[in-house]
């Protein structure tokens, strides 16, 4: 005698996975294009000791780096945003 229940064909069912698109856009304020401050006047001249000069250069470099990174983040969320900025 065979077990009838065991002889039944098993139907393979894959577990249902449902993916839903979720818009995860940061607030517009976070994606606002950075506004660069006024540049140093080109016709100016000053006496700046090397230590101060290197601090100024470091500040300028860090600002550019941070701004570039912010631009990358903004364009990650909104491709092509802030196109007028470098």
């Amino acid at each position: 005698m065979t077990l009838q229940a065991c002889a039944r064909p098993q139907i393979e069912t894959a577990p249902a996975v449902i993916a839903v698109e979720v818009k995860d856009t940061p607030p517009a304020q976070l994606l606002a294009c950075p506004v660069a401050p006024e540049p140093f006047p080109s016709d100016a001249s000053a006496t700046i000791p090397p230590a101060v000069r290197s601090a100024i250069i470091g500040l300028a470099s860090a600002y550019a780096q941070t701004r570039d990174q912010l631009l990358r983040v903004i364009r990650w969320h909104e491709p092509g945003a802030c196109e007028d900025l470098r």
Partner: protein
């Protein structure tokens, strides 16, 4: 062969008056057989009915019989099961599509970001080099002029490239 027929004929005569009883008995036997056959069918039908009710209950409906009044229409339970299957099919295909879309979008974003980052790094490196060069030319009296400030503006990105 003839003698077999003879025996049967003799037997028939012997039965005589109880012939009707015999016919009745055989009829009763046939009826009992038919009844037993019907009982098997009924049991099978009851089992199927219970199964259908269970199936409909599992699908979230109620089994109301297999024959709806309007013959062209499928019964509610079949429609329910079909809609469940359709829902699963459609949601799976929508899921696959949206996952593919998301992967594609992320890939495009990554590529664009890599391009942007490379461009930015190149520009920054050039500005740093120019700044260093300008800084090296400063005389020991530490006077800085327009050229140094121009390079500083370039380095910080304070001046638009159009100027």
């Amino acid at each position: 062969m003839k003698w077999v027929f003879g025996i049967l004929k003799a037997g028939w005569k012997l039965v005589g008056a109880s012939r009707e009883t015999l016919i009745l008995i055989s009829l009763a036997g046939a009826a009992a057989g038919l009844y037993a056959w019907g009982a098997t069918g009924r049991a099978e039908r009851n089992r199927l009915d219970a199964w259908a009710q269970q199936l409909c209950l599992a699908a979230g409906g109620e089994f109301t019989g297999t024959k709806p009044k309007d013959r062209a229409k499928v019964d509610g339970c079949t429609a329910l099961v079909a809609s469940h299957a359709a829902y699963k099919r459609e949601s799976q295909s929508a899921t696959a599509a949206s996952l593919a879309r998301a992967a594609e979008r992320t890939q495009a974003k990554s590529a664009a970001d890599r391009t942007l980052a490379t461009g930015q790094a190149t520009r920054r490196a050039a500005a740093v080099k120019a700044m260093e060069k300008a800084d090296e030319t400063i005389a020991p009296d530490d006077r800085v002029g327009g050229d140094w400030f121009d390079r500083l503006n370039d380095l910080a990105g304070l001046r638009s490239p159009a100027n």
